[in-house]
Amino acid sequence: MSQQQPAGVIHDIGYRGYDGPRLGRGAVARALYVHSLRGAFGLGRSARAKVLPMLLLGVMCLPAFIIAVIANATSSVLTELPLPYSRYAVVAQGILTIFLAAQAPQAVSRDLRFKTVPLYFSRPLERSDYVLAKFAGLSTAMFLLLAAPLLIMYIGALLAEFPAGRETTDVALALVGAVAFAIVFAGVGLVIASLTARRGFGVAAIITVFALSFAAISSLQGIIRYVEDDATLAGWLGLFSPITLVDGFQTWVLDASSSAVAPPPGSAGGVGYVLVTFGVIGACWALLNLRYRKVSS
């Protein structure tokens, strides 16, 4: 065929119309959600796109694996895991931040940079559906990144014959905390990434906001608490960095062991942390919707 006719000429195969089902908004949004989730791990794209997320997933699980092995090897001496489940997120925050910094721009900056957004909005997909699908997709990816090592540790604990009831409760609470981490991280990351079409800059900006805020706030908390002996003020300072914020949230709400320098001060502090956490999530949602309302070309 291609020898008889020049390439690019239309073949007269006959056009077939489409009479099949046309799924509504809900199904389309769900398809976009799955697409975003897969894209966060490089699935459905080129091989090179998979390298970094999979590498990060591996690095994320490695310490958990080591901990599980240690627990089993020394189960005669240890009666619990060397590192509590709920502290894993803060300990591994570097990996989480890099993953977020690499994949949040992947989720939104690409569409802005290549100007694919009008193609989405000229379809039966509302703007808020787009935002929801991207937000949920990235949050799920972050949650999976946190849940995998927790499950590895849990299996290790069960194999080491630690009390199953206690381990199950602990891991369940840690997973709830992981949900909070995932949503807050994804929200802040997406807001920052959606402000720029340049992927490199989005990556740097996300890292800066998370890493610098954590370094600055922890250092400040350390100084205020131990030099000034003011644990209350140090506790309040934790509101100003996403990592310490969610850590404080899970410490107070889920009774997790704190990894921060200073936990939320008292009940007032705890309530404050909860309010700010939900406030941050709400603000991210609103800002993302606002940003995409203005896109028209």
């Binding site: 291609s2 390439a7 690019g8 000429v9 239309i10 073949h11 195969i13 006959g14 056009y15 077939r16 119309g17 489409y18 099949g20 089902p21 046309r22 799924l23 509504g24 908004r25 199904a27 389309v28 398809a31 976009l32 697409h35 459905g44 794209r45 080129s46 796109a49 690409r110 569409d111 290549f114 100007k115 694919t116 009008p118 193609l119 989405y120 909005f121 000229s122 379809r123 039966p124 997909l125 509302e126 028209s296 070309s297």
Partner: protein, 301 residues
């Protein structure tokens, strides 16, 4: 039933009025929307799709109101933007499948229709390579494919021949014509090139600075007049004299001679006269109106 209807549609920006009380009625077929750059063509398309909001006035597509029934309209409409809109690192197949799913097709149907549509627009083995390496012609085809893949009732094509070489342009225009005649999908095409729209449209809408200049069927526009234009290499006066002697009315129009076409014998008379005088015949054609004349008319209004 008109597929596109606007009534006093106006869009004002702080610095410029993009559309000024535009009122048009478009029947099924291939409709050409002509206007210079900045005349308001893209703005109109964006308002029809719900990507942008009109300042005042009404617009209806397929009988549905653009502001209240946006999602229903968008289920049945395909859009091919003017600007680059394709990601560089996925293949055409992956991209069009994804867009098909975003239009509401289930996964299997999306894959099937993508394969069909890419074949219809003329992309074969290239469809598995990343879009970043495509030529402009191939990219335009991918853009067209994503607009057609969900079998819409109407497609809006914004400057589809931009950046194509002459052969590519012809191919694209032929394809656009087939979209209506073979696929049964109404097409709204914009361009600032008048000649190509003349060739493929059933109906032409001309706008300038947001205002409607003229809206009528192509055959009205370009109907052949009953005149023949003659152009020779040398001695036009001699030839004109001879033609008058042969009984034809000759009107001079610059270097052309215009002769009324009473019957077929006029062609023979002209040919014989010119050969007798001994000069070369450059042109012997029926005078047709051109869309460009519409812009001339505006000047005289």
């Amino acid at each position: 039933m008109p597929v596109i209807q606007t009534e006093e549609l106006t869009k004002r920006f702080p610095a410029v009025t993009a559309l000024d009380r535009l009122t048009i009625d478009v029947e099924p077929g291939v409709v050409g929307l002509v206007g210079a750059n900045g005349a308001g063509k893209s703005t109109l398309i964006k308002i029809l799709l719900g990507l942008s909001e009109a300042t005042s006035g009404q617009a209806r597509m397929l009988g549905l109101d653009v502001t209240t029934d946006g999602p229903k309209i968008r289920e049945r409409v395909g859009y091919m933007p003017e600007h680059d809109c394709l990601p560089g690192d996925v293949s055409a197949t992956e991209f069009v499948v994804h867009m098909a799913r975003m239009s509401g097709l289930p996964a299997d149907a999306a894959r099937e229709r993508t394969a069909d549509t890419l074949r219809h627009v003329g992309l074969y083995e290239e469809r598995y390579r990343p879009i970043g390496g495509y030529s402009t012609g191939m990219k335009q085809r991918v853009k067209l494919a994503q607009a057609l893949v969900h079998d819409p009732e109407i497609v809006l094509l914004d400057e589809p021949t931009n950046g194509l070489d002459p052969v590519g342009r012809d191919d694209m225009l032929a394809l656009i014509r087939r979209i209506y005649t073979d696929f049964g999908i109404t097409v709204l095409v914009t361009s600032h090139l008048l000649g190509e729209l003349e060739r493929i449209s059933d109906h032409v809408v001309v706008i300038d600075a947001g205002r409607l200049l003229r809206s009528s069927s192509t055959s009205e526009f370009t109907r052949t007049s009953q005149f023949v234009a003659v152009e020779v290499t040398a001695e036009p006066d001699t030839v004109a004299g001879q033609l008058k002697a042969a009984g034809l009315d000759v009107v001079r129009d610059g270097h052309l001679m215009v002769v009324p076409l009473e019957d077929e014998s006029v062609y023979d008379i002209v040919r014989d006269t010119v050969a007798q005088v001994g000069v070369g015949l450059i042109r012997l054609e029926q005078r047709r109106h051109h869309i460009a004349e519409v812009f001339g008319e505006r000047g005289s209004q």
